[in-house]
């Protein structure tokens, strides 16, 4: 069973941005449809409401338990999904019509789960996000743990949130099998994408 929460975008959406997110989401879904042994578990594209978040998290937990996955694996996947969704909800930028377009896709391959998430980001925020990402690029999990502790030691929120702790948590749970990318939408907006893989072994 696949849970697809794709909803029709309201007419007020910027059509170009809508299409941009939708095509990225669709291409990931297509990849899973064509890949032998792979299974699409969940896809959501559009404005992400709190109700959507609750549905997604509830479904992920129930589905992985039903599939008999071990507790440790369920926790890792659940953690990445929580952090990805909160990144979208808290840090995602609105488009010019006040809509926070995004996508999240979760799939299972033979030996791993993959989570893709995308959200709009203001172009002037890209540098800061890249700085957070650069702290963990190429690091082994033990070294990422040190980066995590250093960030956590600041022990407070700034106007930028938890200082990148969410992205570092995603890296930790995926043993740093996580990729980040930016795609330009227009002069003011980028699409921030992440793809995390959790080994099922």
């Amino acid at each position: 069973m696949i849970l697809v929460l794709t909803r029709i975008m309201p007419e007020t959406y910027s059509e170009a941005i809508e299409e941009f997110c939708q095509t990225r989401c669709d291409s990931i879904k297509e990849k899973f449809a064509k890949s032998p042994g792979s299974e699409l578990i969940l896809a959501n594209c559009g404005d992400l409401s709190e109700d959507n978040v609750d549905s997604i998290l509830s479904y992920v937990e129930i589905r992985l338990k039903k599939d008999g996955e071990p507790k440790g694996l369920i926790k890792k996947v659940f953690t990445i999904v929580v952090e990805s969704l909160q990144n979208i909800r808290i840090h995602g930028t609105d488009d010019s019509e006040g809509v926070k377009a995004s996508f999240i896709v979760i799939g299972r391959e033979k030996q791993s789960y993959q989570i893709w998430a995308g959200n709009l980001t203001a172009s002037n925020m890209v540098g800061e996000i890249k700085t957070s990402i650069s702290k963990i690029k190429g690091l082994k999990p033990s070294a990422i743990r040190q980066v995590y502790l250093k960030l956590l030691s600041f022990g407070k929120f700034t106007d930028k949130g938890g200082g990148g702790l969410g992205l570092i948590t995603i890296a930790l749970k995926s043993d740093n099998n996580v990729r980040f990318a930016f795609e330009k939408i227009n002069e003011n907006l980028m699409l921030f994408k992440l793809n995390a893989r959790v080994s099922a072994n």
Partner: protein, 126 residues
Amino acid sequence: MNRLFLIEGKNTPKISFDPDTGNFLVIGKSYPESTERFYKVPLQWLKKYCEEGDPKNITVDLNFEFISSASVICVLQLLKQMGQLRAKGFNIKVKWHLQDDDDDIKVTGESLESLCGGLVFEYVPF
């Protein structure tokens, strides 16, 4: 001071701080979207207790089924407030509860313990 009691929500833990018994408890899942806003209440309560309370024995039971990265920041802030109580003469015992096979929660506890300024955690398996 009156006891602080917050009932468990769909993504927020139950919180019970009882100044009479000295039993302080946080139990459940913690991944609210507005994490800072949720933990503001217990943090403010603790700050006030630090100003007004008389030193005594406090047992802090922390039992998280799941805790988001933002919640870890807030729990660290709670623990630092406990550190302030300890500096005032309170005897603080922290119990970090975890299931035997939950490495994730264990590592989170160890991370917090290393950063909360001298509070020693007792790890309690169940």
